[in-house]
Point group: C2
Chain length 183, copies 2
Amino acid sequence: MSPRADAVRNRTKILDAAREQITLHGPDAGMDEIAAAAGVAVGTLYRHFPNKTDLVSAVLTEHLDRVADDIEAARERTAGGAKAMDEILGLVERVLEASATDHAVKAAARLLGAYPTDELVEDRTGTALAELIQAAQADGELHDDVTVQDFYLLINTAPTDQPPAVRSRWLTLVLPGLTTRGR
Amino acid sequence: MSPRADAVRNRTKILDAAREQITLHGPDAGMDEIAAAAGVAVGTLYRHFPNKTDLVSAVLTEHLDRVADDIEAARERTAGGAKAMDEILGLVERVLEASATDHAVKAAARLLGAYPTDELVEDRTGTALAELIQAAQADGELHDDVTVQDFYLLINTAPTDQPPAVRSRWLTLVLPGLTTRGR
DNA sequence: GCCTATCATGAACCTGCGTTCACGATCTTG
DNA sequence: CAAGATCGTGAACGCAGGTTCATGATAGGC
């Protein structure tokens, strides 16, 4: 039997509100706040998601999906003639920038490189990133031993809660370990 | 009027226990656990420290003090003829290693570069580190624009909760941003 | 040895937060 | 439209962790 119409409506409202609240306050956003933002009672959250972890995972997976889209787009541009290293630098800057204001992205980044991730999404990002890396290495602009995991590691250790000047400085310090382009 | 003898005794026991518990479980160690480890009731903690923040700060300041000692010792060795860059690398590795097992060090590292720190200790580390940096730059082994803040920044973003292989890889990725020594 | 200021005790309190559940409302099928 | 399954409600629960306070013990000067 298909679900009731209002139930579907509520599920959407809940996901929208959860996305908004987690973006603003990170995964620490309270279930009460999410429920209030969705215009729904707490119990309704628990009808759609057994517990908080499941709700947060759903939102974070969405975000990872967007990042995967971004990476795949960069790969397409490379196939179209763009320099792979330029695309990689753009990606890193974009993710770093997003993490600063979007607490969901920050939390989502922590999922990559750790275990509990949707395998499909992880595969998508991994594959596209690997191709970009190979291309940049073929251009001689990325050190030969750099891997996908290295990027996950660096993104996870990025100082996302620091002012722009500090984030920029951090990039400057870290990039020489990846690229062969001079400082 | 000087404090009672048993009060002094208890203060020591509390600090010892707090140090131990925070080393094991980080600043998340409960007041109850600390009290139990000290063989004292919770209320006694609050007689000596108005709140948890004050107690944790006291312990963390101690740790920073030890780090300051380490840095100053490195500076002395440099004055005695050791290569400044070697001492710096040793320092970084030691702090990184300690952060992995000692949750107090990890938390203490977060204090440097942030605001609420004992100025005296911060001055001590800052001065000694600055001298080491200058010496290494004079040797041409450290990039000229590297500052004390850069080191604080990198230490703060180190992946202390990752396995040794990952921590080591992180160092490899980050060092080229500091030193002129090749990979 | 007494007496009082100082100190220790730990049960109780408070707040925040995830989670549950008995009840009422609403949608949908026949 | 009626019947029943599905869904929504929100007060209440449980738990954890920091903090307090009335009560009793102890130290140290006279």
